[in-house]
């Protein structure tokens, strides 16, 4: 087997969905194995690890992102049905939501507003561009929503996705220390904050601690998705330097 035959094989296989799918799955499983080896350390996040692995492999082999995504989009597509699937934990935990409704409504609205306004304002204050500020605004919501909202307001969807994921990882790493520091000792607050600030990754983190925290995180993802989709385009419309 000579190198040119290997090159031929590589050139034939990379554009097929098999390449992107296998690479994504293997990298994610490697990420999980690494996290287990680090005794579940929050910093060794499987999502973060697999993005770094795939990015490195694509860079080293000179494979364009478009080629990889041609296959990986089959996984990406499942974010749509997964978002619809959030209706099930939403309905199953409706009792908890009803009993805490005023608090949930107020806390969610406050958290969404602070996240969108804070993100855009901080980027602008530090001299960032319009595109960066617009991609930062919806970053607290679940990724498909962040991508859609960013497309609507004219930001960069792929940057919004990256920021949403980075925000989720940040929430998973910091939430315990932050809430301990603030002496907030309520699973509902823990879950709602994890879901509002960190969406899917935050919710996965909350569920690993407590079922009620997980339920409130699921509620937060759904409602924050709706709220942000309403808040951000309105905010951008009235934001002084952006229009």
């Amino acid at each position: 087997m000579n190198t040119s035959a290997l090159h031929d094989l590589w050139a034939q296989l990379t554009p097929t969905p098999l390449f992107g799918l296998t690479l994504t799955l293997l990298s994610y499983l490697t990420g999980h194995a690494i996290q287990r080896a680090c005794r579940g350390a929050a910093l060794a996040n499987p999502i973060l690890i697999s993005i770094l692995l795939i990015g490195g492999i694509l860079g080293l082999t000179g494979t364009p992102y478009r080629t990889y995504f041609a296959g990986a989009q089959l996984i990406h597509f499942l974010l749509g049905p997964a978002t619809v699937a959030l209706a099930v934990p939403l309905v199953r935990n409706l009792g908890h939501l009803r009993r805490s409704l005023p608090g949930v409504a107020l806390a969610l609205t406050a958290g969404s507003l602070v996240s969108a306004i804070g993100g855009m304002a901080l980027v602008e204050i530090c001299g960032g561009s319009r595109a960066a500020a617009l991609s930062m605004a919806p970053k607290a919501v679940t990724t498909p929503v962040a991508i859609e909202v960013t497309q609507t307001v004219g930001g960069i969807p792929s940057l919004a996705a990256v920021l949403a994921i980075a925000g989720g990882v940040l929430v998973a790493i910091s939430i315990q220390s932050l809430l301990r520091w603030a002496r907030i000792t309520d699973w509902r607050a823990f879950g709602l904050a994890a879901g509002t600030a960190g969406s899917g990754i935050g919710a996965a983190h909350a569920i690993s601690f407590d079922e009620i925290a997980g339920a409130f995180a699921a509620l937060a993802i759904g409602l924050n998705g709706l709220l942000t989709a309403l808040i951000v385009p309105t905010l951008v419309h009235f934001w002084p330097h952006l229009r």
Binding site: P46, A72, A85, G118, G128, V145, L159, L178, D186, G225
Partner: protein, 131 residues
């Protein structure tokens, strides 16, 4: 399981259609989520075991689904490199602010149904007495 998937895709399709027909801000899958939630409230019998287990499996590997979009970071390295200070400050600042404000408001709301989280007050790294 196939039924469950058909339900999920069907509601996404309806949500997607409404999103396009009425040029709504709210993304199609989110509309689909709320439609499915209200459908399940109207008809609790539709919340069958296969639907619950299928959605559970799908939400269990939610992390994996973020990876292909996340790899898109390699296409944005130039922008991030040029603006890494505002992006880092905006990301960390707004995430911490949102986390704190949401938890604080939820915690402070008068309520008889607070669910104590001992791990947050009795933990090894506790910095003060439980309030």
């Amino acid at each position: 399981m196939l039924n469950a998937f058909a339900i999920l895709l069907g509601f996404q399709l309806v949500g997607e259609s409404l999103h396009r027909i009425f040029s709504l801000w709210v993304p199609g899958p989110v509309i689909g989520m709320f439609l499915l939630a209200s459908f399940l409230l109207r008809k609790p019998s539709a919340l069958s075991e296969p639907l619950v287990s299928t959605t559970h499996v799908l939400l269990q590997c939610l992390g994996l689904l973020f990876v292909p979009a996340g790899v898109g970071v390699i296409g944005n390295l130039n922008l991030i490199g040029r603006e890494w200070i505002p992006i880092l400050v905006g990301l960390v600042g707004s995430t911490f602010l949102s986390l704190f404000v949401t938890a604080y408001v939820m915690h402070r709301m008068p309520s008889r149904v607070a669910v104590a989280a001992p791990i947050l007050s009795d933990g090894k790294e506790v910095q003060g007495n439980q309030s």
